[in-house]
């Protein structure tokens, strides 16, 4: 009897340790990255690092502005493309589509979410880049290789489709049928019901899904790296090349140990990504959890 209780006590303590260790990962990652980026932070201030666009690692000059802008461009393009498409898809799946159609289509959305980033990258190189080069860019600019922030945004848009569709779908399922019925019974069309009732009720969830999608797009590395062209300049049009932060880290890991402060600068890039994504994630999760709790309560 005593033995069983002792066993329970020991196991519970062990589990507590495991839980605390994995939860504190958030803090450890942040502190670790901050600690490693101290050398470059001692050399120049946060403001300098974020606003300078001079990137000359050999001279110890690290300006992250072009990379931040590169990240913002691809992220913005991907959200602008993906959000309307995904909202329309989610509304169709949850309000219009027959259950049978739904049962066939939703698994494919899940399959899309299982495809690894590098495959999206290969697809981007094989399909999106030529598409931009031969069919989109010629209408607007004289010449483009296709490797551009637009190509990065398009690939990212497809990558975040499943994320937005599945979260918005879940949010839409939480909206009480009575509300919609009331609107329909008053003679509103389905679309009017969506426009005036469903969207209003689902707005926090849609915002949360968008914020999550932004943070996902923000941190995506390899697929973007393969199609963006990777030039350390600030893009001025969608057909310019860009060099997002994650691509910068991934592309230079080989040489970073041979140049002083370089590794520290790259860790600073990782720290930046970490902080921004942490903030976005916390915000969207708090919104989503509140929604879930409202539903339960």
């Amino acid at each position: 009897m005593q033995l069983r209780l002792i066993k329970d006590k020991i196991i519970s303590k062990l589990m507590l340790v495991f839980t605390l260790a994995s939860v504190s990962l958030v803090i450890i990652i942040g502190v670790g990255l901050y600690y490693r980026s101290l050398p470059v932070l001692n050399n120049s201030s946060w403001g300098q690092l974020l606003s300078s666009s001079v990137w000359k690692p050999m001279k110890g000059l690290f300006g992250f502005y072009p990379f931040i802008m590169g990240t913002l461009w691809v992220t913005a393009i991907s959200i602008i493309i993906a959000l309307p498409l995904c909202l329309l898809t989610s509304f169709y799946l949850s309000e219009y589509a027959h259950t049978r159609v739904k049962r066939i289509l939703i698994p494919f959305v899940n399959l899309l979410s299982g495809i690894p980033p590098v495959i999206f990258g290969v697809w981007g190189v094989l399909f999106i880049v030529p598409l931009v080069q031969n069919h989109i860019a010629p209408h607007f600019v004289e010449y483009s290789t296709g490797y551009s922030v637009l190509a990065g945004g398009l690939v990212l848009a497809v990558m975040i489709f499943p994320l937005i569709v599945s979260i918005v779908n879940e949010v839409l399922n939480t909206i009480p049928q009575e509300l919609k019925d009331a609107s329909l019974a008053l003679g509103a069309t389905k679309w009017e019901t969506i426009k005036k009732v469903t969207i209003r009720k689902a707005l926090p969830g849609i915002v949360a899904a968008t914020v999550l999608a932004i943070s996902r797009a923000f941190g995506e590395t390899i697929a973007v790296l393969m199609v963006c062209g990777n030039n350390a300049i600030v893009p001025h049009s969608v057909f310019d090349t860009g060099y997002p932060l994650p691509a910068l880290i991934a592309n230079n890991y080989g040489e970073m140990m041979s140049i002083p402060l370089y590794d520290s600068a790259l860790m600073f890039a990782a720290l930046l990504l970490f902080i921004i994504i942490l903030l976005f994630n916390v915000i969207s999760r708090i919104i989503l959890n509140r929604l879930e709790r409202n539903l339960a309560g």
């Binding site: 069983r4 066993k7 329970d8 519970s12 589990m15 495991f18 839980t19 994995s22 990962l25 958030v26 990652i29 670790g32 990255l33 490693r36 498409l85 995904c86 329309l88 509304f91 169709y92 219009y96 289509l105 698994p107 494919f108 899940n110 399959l111 899309l112 495809i115 690894p116 980033p117 590098v118 495959i119 999206f120 290969v122 697809w123 094989l126 399909f127 497809v158 489709f161 569709v165 069309t189 389905k190 679309w191 009017e192 996902r216 923000f218 941190g219 995506e220 590395t221 390899i222 393969m226 994650p246 991934a250 890991y253 790259l266 990782a270 990504l273 970490f274 994504i277 999760r285 708090i286």
Partner: protein, 281 residues
């Protein structure tokens, strides 16, 4: 009146088009990979390691990367499970009733899940530098383990929550300790654990950014934890950057292999999830 009907029709057509585009993108990707990869697919690709001059188009295959990926994803899934099963049980069995704490913990794991793999890669690299490890299979497994823990914890947590509370109460009221009750619950969620394993394996085998710094690359199949290991996604990435057409073709074939593996894993886990929710009380 007619305007409203027209608007309804217009939007409905837009919705259908959007749905076709979103669902169709899956077929577009898989179709592209298959049509480009199949012509270069040979038996050698999956049975041989790179021979001399492989990277200028001579013979060989990517067996080293296939095995390396299996090792990394398998090792990470096993060590991830060892950590996340106790965590999921702790949250559900030992902290039940303390809603605020469990909410906070769940949010933290959700947030960890959202941290991109490049950050886990960079952090894994820091750990390795700290302990004086070189890029190796072990390094790769550590980084990918960190990456899959949040996924595992969240999946297991969801699964454990589907176990009816009465079952737990029954076990507890018969005098079982919480750990003995946990064992009963674990038996109930066996298919759920299997789903979690598949999801984690799928995530681990496909990820590049986390192994880029940590696992290194090698033309040989690693024989110990301290040797560098090639991984399939990295092999694809490197080969695609080659100017030699033959090598690029191999990148497409490797992409095809990875796509098939991941699709099988995803389909299996979908089926399992469906089965699991069917038997739910």
């Amino acid at each position: 009146m007619i305007k409203r009907k027209l608007e309804e029709l217009f939007i409905k057509i837009l919705m259908i088009l959007a749905t076709i585009l979103v669902v169709g993108s899956f077929f577009l990707i898989v179709g592209t990979i298959f049509s480009k990869g199949l012509p270069y697919m040979t038996w050698d690709m999956i049975t041989k390691i790179p021979g001399g001059g492989f990277y200028i188009g001579k013979e060989g295959g990517v067996l080293n990367a296939i095995i390396g990926s299996l090792y990394v994803a398998g090792g990470a899934t096993v060590s991830g499970l060892i950590i996340s099963i106790p965590v999921a049980i702790f949250i559900n069995m030992y902290l039940s009733g303390k809603n605020f704490i469990t909410d906070v913990l769940r949010t933290v794991f959700d947030v960890l899940f959202g941290i991109p793999s490049i950050v886990y890669g960079a952090f894994g690299f820091l750990i390795m530098v700290y302990f004086g490890l070189r890029a190796s299979l072990l390094g790769g497994i550590i980084a990918v383990t960190l990456l899959v823990i949040p996924l595992l914890v969240r999946t297991l947590d969801e699964v454990i929550r589907t176990v009816p509370g009465e079952l737990r109460d029954a076990a507890l009221s018969l005098g079982s300790t919480r750990w003995e009750t946990a064992k009963v619950v674990l038996r109930q969620i066996r298919p759920g654990i299997f789903t979690a394993i598949l999801l984690s394996f799928g995530r681990g085998i496909g990820d590049v950014a986390s192994v880029l710094f940590t696992a290194g690359f090698s033309d040989n199949i690693p024989t110990s934890l301290h040797e560098p290991a090639a991984t399939l996604p990295l092999a694809i990435f490197f080969q695609l950057g080659s100017p030699v057409e033959e090598v690029q073709g191999r990148a497409y074939a490797s992409a095809l292999i990875l796509t098939i593996v991941v699709l099988i894993i995803t389909v299996l886990s979908e089926i399992l999830i469906k089965k699991f929710s069917k038997h739910k009380i």
